[in-house]
């Protein structure tokens, strides 16, 4: 996994609640999905008009916000489908951090598998951040410091956020969960040996034929 230590850049305000992963990556785009091209369809229903042209009213199409690295948005962001393509699509657009009052649980988890940092902050703080990010047509620099769990706004305000130590370490060092868990395989084998005695039916399935 790619490391994420210090992030600096523009934050785009998207003040809308319950943006689901079907909006972030529509289902029809999942079929030939790959990490490299998914960004072409990110936010498709919002970002493009019916004729395929860019929607000039969508924040990431506006001058000053096209290179945003942070998204500030409404509550329950990423609810719905488990599709990890939503995270790929955001990463492909250059977004490395999403700030919201709350997130869909599966999306929140998926972010950490792809070096995207989701930050939960209280609703009133989000309202203030949206206002600050919406000022002056973008081009305002926000900074996220993963090691110190701080967000610094263009006005110089510093806000701390919560991040569990394991996730912080994984982001800072770019650790991959599969690699880490493979080290635990002896524990898994011991669990199965013990459990097989207690619940043999879990391991000895019949067949359907």
């Amino acid at each position: 996994m790619e490391k994420l230590q210090l992030l600096q850049g523009v934050a785009a305000p998207l003040p809308r609640a319950n943006i689901d992963t079907d909006i972030i990556t529509p289902a029809k785009r999942l079929l030939d999905a790959n990490r490299e091209t998914m960004h072409q369809h990110t936010f498709e229903p919002l970002r493009f008009l019916a004729d395929g042209d860019e929607n000039p009213d969508f924040i990431l199409n506006k001058p000053g916000y096209r290179d945003a690295v942070i998204l500030i948005t409404g509550r329950n962001f990423g609810c719905g489908s488990s599709r990890e393509t939503a995270v790929w699509g955001l990463r492909g657009l250059g977004i490395r951090c999403v700030i919201a009052e709350s997130f869909g649980d599966i999306f929140f988890n998926n972010c950490f598998q792809n070096s995207l940092l989701p930050i939960r902050l209280p609703g009133e703080t989000i309202a203030e951040l949206l206002a600050e990010a919406g000022n002056d047509q973008g081009n305002m620099q926000f900074q996220v410091d993963v090691a110190n769990c701080t967000l610094t706004t263009p006005s110089g305000r510093t806000i701390t956020f919560d991040l569990t130590p394991d996730r912080q370490t994984a982001l800072l060092e770019g650790l991959d969960e599969v690699g880490q868990t493979l080290q635990e395989d002896a524990a898994t084998a011991a669990f199965q040996a013990r459990d097989r005695k207690a619940r043999p039916w879990i391991y000895d399935l019949g067949t359907v034929d």
Binding site: R16, A27, G80, S81, S82, N109, L182, Y203, T207, V208
Partner: protein
């Protein structure tokens, strides 16, 4: 005496391989369901990393998302069927994972196949790369949807790293009114609590209403847990559960069945167990539901009025309502009944099981689908289809003018190309009325199978109780 504990806690503790920190555990995965939308890619990722599937015998793979539901279908009948369904076959067989292809009598939607084969068991921990995996909690399993990176993790290690969620119990007591079914119960709950109320929680459903439901109704309830943010929904297993599972092909047999049963009877929240949140719902308050907006929480009693944006005090809710009404082509302040529909879809992992089809058939019997409506019945699995045909349900539907199709996710998620056209209005027994879910600009109204069948007959959103009342008068 030990501390009273919740069903959730018992299920969780039984699967801890190792604690990885405060509230973070490495858990053993007993059951892993794999489908065509992400399966082949996950197995390919694994192979490219030089890793093997650790326990292929604890997995089942079947195509459901990408395949056509057209009668006489092959993998080539949908745009990505060969690539995704065929790809899954190749990768699953190479890995030694049991695979139920299009020609197999157990093919179907993963969340229908798991319970009906007895793959899903009380006390098991089950995951799948699909958010509606919460369905399996209806059997007293600990089950939730995971992302594609986690799918690779489970394939490689047979474990999942998981943070312990908070607990919530939703108790529904009382008898359901005439024409009210499980789908109405859960839509009512989502409408009452809001679409994010369950975030970060594992939900246990309890109470006399839940206990009176058949297993399929309980699956409908648990299935929609994710639609109010809860990754896991569960119901303590009881005699209904055991009767449902007995003699299912992958369920334990003989002495193992007796041994399992003895353990399963202990899978319930103890008297006095404490939940982080408790909610009580009175069954008498629940009417047949229909959604009006673009989020499952935007639901109404069928007798209700579509909300007007200015009826909300909070600016965000006003804004959400305006956006939803515009997308849905509806006006606030109007009754929802009488809204003309173009399509009806009955099926999905929410409502594609035999009792669902029976309820729809009871409404359809002796009636005719309105001439301007295209109405589909898509059984949730090959087993459901065979059982329905043995009862003659297919004949009832065909006689009424419904299409009787092949099992899969079909128009719920429309990844197989079976979309609702832009601007068309569809009453659907599926799980999501999101913007673009059934196709770009498609307008989805979620409801139960009886209400959906009634909409097909009437050609508009209608109260199923009026139709059944007419039938009873005859």
């Amino acid at each position: 005496m030990s501390q009273p504990t919740t069903l959730f806690h018992k299920l969780w503790q039984a699967h801890v391989v190792r604690s990885l920190g405060e509230d973070l555990d490495l858990l053993h995965v007993d059951r892993h369901l794999i489908h065509d939308l992400s399966g082949a890619r996950a197995l390919t990722d694994l192979q490219e990393r030089g890793l093997a599937v650790r326990n292929p015998e604890l997995c089942i793979a079947t195509p459901d998302h990408s395949i056509s539901s057209q009668p006489g279908r092959t993998l080539a009948s949908s745009p990505f069927g060969e690539r995704l369904g065929g790809g899954l076959r190749k990768m699953a067989e190479a890995a030694g994972i049991p695979f139920f292809g299009l020609d197999h009598p157990n093919q179907g939607i993963v969340h229908v196949v798991g319970p009906e084969t007895g793959f899903t068991l009380p006390g098991s921990l089950l995951v799948c790369g699909d958010s509606h995996t919460s369905t399996h909690g209806a059997l007293g399993a600990l089950a939730w949807g995971i992302g594609s990176s986690e799918v690779v993790h489970v394939l490689a290690t047979q474990t999942v790293r998981q943070r312990r969620p908070q607990t919530m119990r939703i108790t529904v007591d009382g008898e359901l009114g005439q024409g009210v079914e499980a789908k109405d119960v859960i839509l009512h709950i989502i409408g009452a609590l809001g679409v994010a109320a369950g975030t970060g929680h594992a939900v246990e459903y309890a109470g006399t209403t839940i206990a009176a439901l058949d297993l399929e109704g309980r699956m409908t309830i648990c299935n929609l847990s994710i639609e109010f943010g809860a990754r896991m929904g569960m119901i303590a297993p009881d005699e209904t559960t055991f009767a449902y599972l007995k003699d299912r092909p992958l369920a334990p047999k003989g002495g193992a069945w007796d041994q399992a049963l003895a353990q399963w009877r202990g899978l319930r929240s103890d008297e006095g167990a404490v939940f982080d949140r408790e909610v009580r719902i009175d069954a008498a308050d629940i009417a047949p539901q229909i959604t009006w907006g673009t989020s499952p929480g935007q639901t109404l009693a069928i007798t209700g009025t579509i909300p007007a944006p200015d009826s909300f005090v909070e600016a965000e809710q006003r804004n959400n309502t305006e956006l939803a009404l515009e997308y849905m082509g509806l006006s606030g302040g109007q009754p929802i009944a009488g809204t003309k529909v173009d399509r009806v879809f009955i099926g999905s992992c929410t409502n594609g099981r035999l009792p669902d089809l029976r309820r729809a058939a009871a409404v359809a019997q002796g009636r005719t689908v309105a001439s301007h409506v295209t109405a589909w019945i898509v059984p949730g699995s090959a087993q459901v289809k065979v059982a329905a045909e043995a009862e003659g349900l297919d004949k009832i539907f065909l006689d009424a003018g419904f299409e009787w199709r092949e099992p899969g996710c079909a128009q719920c998620v429309a990844t197989n190309g079976e979309t609702v056209a832009p601007g068309e209005r569809c009453v659907s027994t599926s799980n999501r009325n999101f913007v673009g879910r059934q196709g770009p600009k498609a307008r989805t109204h979620l409801a139960g199978p009886a209400m959906a069948a009634a909409a097909a007959i009437a050609g508009e959103i209608t109260d199923v109780r009026n139709l059944t009342a007419v039938a009873e008068d005859k």
